[in-house]
């Protein structure tokens, strides 16, 4: 049935968008770093999963358990070495954003260069769990469904952690107002480093999961960064639920337009939706009025 087709495919696609964007909302919303090299880490993780699967016969789901802590550590180090000096000397948030954009732009080329050296320039692609599953008369691939399930699970888990735990509340406090957070004895440097590292771990998880069904090469990082940025801003910076909802909405809109109108308009509808949301709610769907 057409409606079930659109719903199922659209939600699964949207789940992938949300998964790819969750890390950025933490990095931008809490740590206040506009990380332009975000997509490169996704591609790096995807290539790592490819290598693990084709070279070592390790399933990507198992590789996930190794990639997450590794990505956390790497991103934490990057924050301490590259970004803490910028945070220290930034007099206000605007300065930090500009500085971090410039610094992470350079980081983008460094990471891309490392990827090119290690893996070369070609397309990489493998098939894992590309098994059809029939739900309510419509077909979906198992690997995409798994990515969707992870997006919901991870998103939900982190949302709960942010709202129900003390550490999570501290992170949210830093996102709302760093100065006031300092006044209530929250160590904002530690919180920001943690948020940045966690964001990096999330994007690596996203990379491993989407590598199961996408084709990628070293040059695709920017594409993912752009898509993630749209989802993050549309959902409201710093808000995980916003990322989920925005991602799902975009996935549904794209699929609906591809089936009901014309597949050539998928990009157009994505940006149209983005612009409409910003016109109606400039801070994003779940965004805060002041920052």
């Amino acid at each position: 049935m057409l409606v079930v087709d659109i719903l199922l495919t659209g939600l699964v696609l949207g789940g992938m968008y949300a998964l790819a964007a969750m890390g950025l909302t933490l990095q931008y919303g809490v740590a206040r770093i506009m990380n332009l090299s975000y997509g490169e880490f996704l591609v790096a993780a995807a290539l790592g999963a490819y290598w693990a699967y084709t070279g070592l016969a390790v399933s990507p789901l198992v590789a996930l358990a190794l990639v997450l802590p590794l990505a956390f550590l790497v991103n934490w180090l990057i924050y301490q070495i590259l970004l803490v000096p910028l945070v220290r000397r930034a007099k206000n948030q605007g300065m930090l954003e500009v500085d971090s954009i410039l610094a992470t732009f350079g980081l983008l080329f460094v990471v891309q260069g490392i990827i090119l050296l290690t893996f070369g320039n070609q397309y990489y692609s493998y098939s894992y769990l590309s098994i059809p599953l029939s739900i309510l008369g419509s077909t979906v691939a198992v690997n995409r469904l798994i990515a969707f399930a992870f997006a919901i699970a991870i998103g939900g888990l982190i949302y709960l952690a942010l709202t129900r735990t003390r550490a999570g509340t501290a992170l949210r406090a830093v996102a709302v107002d760093p100065v006031a957070a300092r006044l209530v004895a929250i160590d904002i440097n530690r919180a920001s480093a943690f948020a940045f590292a966690l964001g990096g771990a999330l994007v690596a998880a996203g990379g491993v999961l989407v590598s199961m069904f996408l084709t990628f090469n070293a040059a695709m990082g920017v594409v993912f960064t752009m898509k993630a940025l749209i989802v993050v801003i549309m959902g409201g910076v710093g808000n995980l639920l916003g990322v989920l909802v925005a991602g799902l909405l975009l996935g549904l809109a794209e699929t609906a337009v591809a089936r009901l109108v014309d597949p050539g308009l998928t990009l157009a509808v994505t940006y149209a939706l983005f612009l409409t949301v910003l016109l109606v709610r400039p801070t994003g769907l779940f965004g805060r009025a002041t920052r």
């Binding site: 087709d5 659109i6 495919t9 696609l13 891309q112 090119l116 070369g120 320039n121 070609q122 397309y123 990489y124 692609s125 493998y126 098939s127 590309s130 098994i131 059809p132 077909t139 979906v140 691939a141 069904f213 996408l214 084709t215 990628f216 090469n217 070293a218 040059a219 695709m220 594409v223 794209e254 699929t255 591809a258 089936r259 014309d262 597949p263 050539g264 998928t266 990009l267």
Partner: protein
């Protein structure tokens, strides 16, 4: 006056000595190597295709030529020296790099960049500077017109129209044998190649009395093509054709299998002939048709694959990569026949001569290679040319495409 005279004399003497010395050094300045250059996409969205199809072939050719001592020019063998630039998949960078190769590095010959768009962008530059432009990854129906405008350009892969016509010929024969009907479902990528090929296909289908039951285009970079495939399935066409680029080619094949979409004829364009395609889909490649083709049983080609893997740690694609290598063999043979590094003479030789290459005998007609492979198909694990049906090495198509197996 006295001072004037002395200075004048000294000046004239110095100039005379300088002129004599320069004459002497000019005469003793003989080329010790042939300098070739290229600007190719080593980063950016075109890097995948550029590496698999062109760069690997270029590098292997340089290795082979230098291992044999070099190119025979006049009485001696001159080794090949390479100057390489990254155009970053950006046409401004490409133009800058080409100008640099011509005016600063002053290379003897330049190899073309990747993709139809960049090939056309480099045309005017090569033409103005008088360099031979032996194009491989350039499929455009404007080739005959451009070949006339740029007599230094040579087009090796055929046009989008030829490939589409070749496909329609295959379909017409199948229809005559009563194996398929007259409906086709077609999707195409909205980039130069996809637009040209689908436009040519629409014409060819109309002339061949086929109806397009589904005809849609998708943006470049789309990897989620399930919605389009589901609509193509509903059209119940016997034939499915995608004028696609590598990432979407892979996505279409994967998603068609998940959806269990089994039309009798299944065709995806660029990327179908890549070794990556075989690596990802294993037995499911059987019967999939694609662009181009290759006389893959020839022992010369099998040896080429072995050497290519040794040099590049990757197999060549089964369509344009061997043609790229052949284009350089043509260049080498032309230089050797002319006997010196004279670009105008080399161009003339390529225009008129006949060349023995990896892909067989090549003779240009009005700077176009008219007998290029148009359609290929994976059969028993190797990619063969199936159209034109009367070309040496052509195989009969497998029909119908076997149903997708679980993977």
């Amino acid at each position: 006056m006295h001072k004037f005279g002395r200075r004048l004399t000294a000046g004239v003497l110095a100039a005379a000595v300088g002129w004599a010395v320069s004459l002497g050094t000019a005469q003793s300045q003989e080329p010790t190597s042939i300098k070739v250059g290229w600007a190719i996409s080593k980063t950016g969205p075109y890097v995948g295709g550029a590496t698999i199809t062109l760069l690997n072939a270029y590098k292997l050719w340089v290795k082979d030529v230098n291992a044999a001592g070099g190119i025979q020019v006049g009485g001696k063998k001159l080794p090949v020296e390479v100057v390489e630039y990254d155009d970053r998949s950006n046409s401004d960078e490409l133009v800058k790099a080409l100008e640099r190769l011509i005016t600063q590095d002053k290379v003897d010959f330049i190899f073309p960049p990747w993709g139809t768009a960049f090939s056309m962008a480099s045309g005017p530059i090569f033409n103005r500077a008088g360099y031979p432009l032996i194009l491989v990854t350039a499929t455009t129906d404007r080739a005959p017109e451009l070949a006339k405008r740029w007599p230094n350009s040579f087009w090796l892969l055929g046009t989008g129209a030829e490939m589409a016509n070749g496909f329609v010929e295959v379909l017409t024969k199948l229809r005559q044998e009563g194996k398929i009907g007259s409906t086709v479902a077609m999707v195409s990528v909205s980039d130069q190649f996809g637009i040209e090929m689908s436009t040519a296909a629409r014409e060819a289908f109309k002339k061949g009395n086929f109806t397009l039951a589904y005809d849609k285009a998708y943006p470049l970079g789309t990897q989620d093509l399930q919605p389009l495939l589901q609509d193509a399935m509903r059209s119940n066409a016997d034939v499915f054709m995608a004028a696609s680029y590598p990432p979407d080619t892979l996505a279409i094949n994967d998603q068609a299998r998940v959806l269990n979409y089994n039309p009798k004829v299944f065709y995806t364009a660029v990327g179908t002939a890549f070794p990556l395609f075989k690596g990802r889909f294993k037995e499911n490649i059987e019967g999939v048709m694609g662009t181009g083709g290759m006389n893959s049983d020839s022992p010369q080609f099998k040896d080429y694959v072995k050497r290519h893997v040794e040099a590049n740690n990757a197999e060549p694609d089964r369509w344009a990569n061997p043609v790229a290598y052949a284009s350089l063999q043509i260049l080498q043979q032309a230089i050797e026949r002319v006997g010196k590094v004279d670009r105008a003479a080399v161009i003339k030789e390529i225009q008129g001569g006949s060349f023995d290459t990896l892909v067989g005998k090549v003779k240009f007609e009005d700077n176009l290679r008219k007998d290029a492979w148009q359609v290929g198909q994976w059969q028993s694990g190797e990619y063969y040319g199936i159209a034109p049906a009367n070309k040496e090495g052509a195989k009969a198509p497998i029909f119908p495409k076997p149903a997708w197996k679980a993977q």
